[in-house]
Amino acid sequence: MAHAPADENTNPSHAFGRMLWRHRGEPGMLIPLLQAAQDSYGHIPQLAVEQISEVTGIPASEIYGVITFYKQFRLKPVGKHLIRLCKGTACHVVGADMIAQTVADELKVPPDETTDDGLFTFTVVACLGCCSLAPVLMIDEEAYGRMTPQQVRRILRQYRQRAATSLRATIPKAPSAVLPANP
């Protein structure tokens, strides 16, 4: 859930604000506070850093030090859909590089960037832990296993089409249906 963008209908800062409000100086709360801020805003805005600094007494410079140390934290907003491409060992040996290139080609952005239309942010992660379905791609919370370049293109285009026609969200074809039969 940590990567899901905040629902526009609810007050995005709510969960984070409540946590800040309740903070009573317990030790070790910096990372949970940052996680709450990212859950609420989709990234960690400067204002959140200032608020955390004020409440915890930790200097903003130190907070930025922690933010930049951990890969989970983002200082820039993400697109509507977050694509996480797995580059774990199992995915690597069955051709994750080619899948990465296909995504970059199709979206016309390199990893860690957001498309101009703000629809996708493309990231490469170390391991999603679905090694037996390699190569794996995750869009938001949906995982797609045993990917081929063609399937990647088709899935991305489905997301695009859905956004363009602004139809009500229909779930793209289930991964179980795109899995080829096991040899």
Binding site: L30, C127, C130, S132, A174, S176
Partner: protein, 586 residues
């Protein structure tokens, strides 16, 4: 209950969910709830045969168990109509499990894929929290430690430190304020054992923690779990609340006056936080940088207090040992390594998944007998064990038994349990480069050799993969590797060169071919291959022509195309667009 009611279990570990398990579950729920059927629908954790996900098990009224593989929502209707309503097994969808399970022995995974992890009663029905009750009412802390030491349990996180010794050191400290930490920061790419245990049987880990806490005299504990495992986080949180609600955790546990609280800490994505001092820094809310040991965490850990850090799998073993005794645990294994080990079998293996085998079984047995050999059917070339800290063991050492010392002697390590199988289409130089780019990226930057040394090693490997390697690079790699190992503070740096050093040791020829002949035998390193269009397969659709940025592909529509090798920049873009599978690497 069992045997009287027909049950349907859907495997909803992360793999199952990724393969579409939720939709299968929902479809069953629709059909079963619509009446005509008194079957009970349940979720369960990882069943272990990840290669056939989504897995569904039907247990009929007589207790007979049938496992269906590759179940899609469309297949659910037939299973309900034929099996649930008429008791007719659909033979063509049944997964044959006898080969897979014949050599396995399930201690850690005793409940995974068997119980509903969200249901505390099911855990209790299978002896859950009985070990804790036994410890609290019949044993002294010293007896518990003695039993664990006697069983010969060693840390399953990779290094294999004796668990009993660690507990004894923690118990011996005078500080009244101590901590138990469960290390669930499973960062190795290609490993998913801890995740599966946390998702499939979270209570066994919590029970193990409570027993450890009683043994060392701690009243507080943390589970440090990767945030990248949302499902494991959710189930752990639920399990902690249930256990606390039922008096198995928290104040006055099981009415004995023993107090132990567990809190969950989500990691924020840093591989180095699997190292215990870095993990402590991360729980304290700091950058996860390791520090010098001693003092070891058992003397001075979290906020300066004694802290006992154990891995998920280690803790899941503990309740079983308490209930079954040290002798039962020692019954399997080798002289130095007792009990079982869980492995995540992945890569080019036919039957990938989660397996638990007795220590002492050989690598060949795991890959060929349980894993069913390679997907291609040809012999495996190497197996990577221990992730970025481990190494590649060549096929000719396949008789090496699973044993801490023997695996270390081979240059790899037991590691946390990732086992990635490789065949001849895997380039070992590329694998070494892959792991080094991972560790280089994850180095926290504290030690110069780890920070800069890994960077230089990576540059050399990239050069070799690009066909610009020099023969003296090989000595330089080995020399740098040894220096990084000797001059790094923590396990990350001390083991980072292992994948390179083991491939140099066992696959030197492959490096030499890359450098001298400018050839990649596995055809993985793009700079060293030629792209070629098979005229038999090409239908002249022209997709590759449009995809090629440098205009290297030519041909008439509807007639076979060809690639101009001189103009080709080897970007492989044509390969990703071709629908005829006509483009080959030669």
């Amino acid at each position: 209950m069992e045997g009287s009611v027909q049950q349907v279990l859907v495997g909803l570990g992360s793999c199952g969910i990724a393969a579409g398990g939720r939709r299968v579950f929902d479809r069953f729920a629709e059909l079963i709830d619509s009446g005509r059927d008194d079957s009970v629908l349940k979720q369960t954790g990882c069943i272990g045969l990840c290669y056939r996900e989504v897995l569904v098990e039907v247990r009929d009224r007589q207790g007979r168990r049938t496992l269906y593989g590759e179940v899609s929502p469309e297949r659910v209707d037939r299973i309900v109509a034929e099996h649930l309503h008429q008791g007719k097994v659909i033979a063509e969808w049944v997964v044959e499990t006898s080969e897979v399970f014949a050599r396995q022995q399930r201690i850690v995974l005793r409940n995974c894929g068997v119980i509903d992890p969200a249901n505390l009663d099911e855990y209790r029905a299978r002896d859950g929290y009985r070990a804790l009750a036994k410890v609290l009412t019949q044993m002294t802390p010293a007896q518990v430690i003695e039993l664990i030491s006697d069983a010969g349990l060693r840390g399953r996180g990779g290094a294999g430190f004796p668990t009993g010794t660690k507990w004894r050191l923690a118990q011996a400290t005078k500080d009244p304020h101590k901590y138990v930490v469960c290390n669930a920061d499973e960062g190795d790419p290609g490993a998913f054992m801890d995740r599966s245990v946390l998702e499939g049987d979270p209570h066994s880990v919590l029970e193990g923690m409570a027993i450890a806490a009683y043994a060392i005299g701690a009243s507080h504990g943390y589970v440090y779990v990767r945030a990248e495992y949302p499902e494991a986080v959710r189930r752990l949180r639920q399990a902690i609340a249930q256990a606390t609600g039922h008096g198995c955790l928290g104040a006055n546990i099981l009415g004995t006056g023993f107090h132990f609280e567990v809190a969950l800490k989500e990691g924020a994505g840093a591989f180095v936080c699997g190292e215990e001092t870095a993990l402590i820094a991360s729980i304290e809310g700091k950058r996860g940088m390791p520090r010098v040991r001693p003092p070891f965490p058992v003397e001075s850990g979290l906020w300066g207090h004694p802290t006992c850090i154990n891995n998920v799998e280690t803790l899941a073993n503990v309740p079983w040992i308490i209930l079954h005794g040290a002798d039962a645990f020692k019954a399997c294994g080798t002289s130095g390594s007792k009990g079982t080990k869980v492995f995540a079998l992945a890569g080019k293996v036919r039957r990938g998944g989660l397996v638990e085998v007795p220590m002492g079984i050989s690598i060949n047995e795991v890959i060929n007998e349980i894993g069913g050999g390679t997907v291609s059917g040809r012999a495996f070339k190497a197996v990577q064990m221990g992730g970025p800290s481990g190494g590649c063991i060549p096929a000719w050492l396949g008789d090496t038994p699973i044993d801490y010392e023997q695996l270390t002697a081979s240059g790899a390590i037991m590691g946390s349990g990732g086992m990635v199988v490789m065949d001849e289409s895997t380039c070992m130089v590329d694998v070494a480069r892959f792991f080094l780019s991972f560790t280089q990226n994850e180095s926290c930057g504290k030690c110069t050799f780890c920070r800069i040394g890994t960077k230089r090693m990576l540059e050399i490997l990239e050069r070799v993969c690009a066909g610009q390697g020099r023969i003296e690079d090989l000595n330089l790699l080995a020399e740098l590797g040894e220096q990084i190992k000797a001059s790094s503070l923590c396990g990350l740096g001390q083991t980072a060169p292992n994948p390179v050093l083991t491939t140099l040791r066992y696959f030197l020829e492959e490096y030499q071919v890359h450098i001298a002949d400018k050839r990649c035998p596995a055809k993985v390193c793009l700079a060293l291959v030629e792209f070629w269009i098979d005229p038999e397969k090409c239908n002249g659709c022209g997709l590759c022509v449009t995809a090629c940025d440098v205009g290297a592909i030519s041909g008439e529509k509807k007639f076979p195309h060809r690639i101009d090798g001189g103009a080709c920049v080897k970007c492989a873009r044509c390969l990703t667009v071709c629908r005829q599978d006509a483009i080959e690497k030669r």
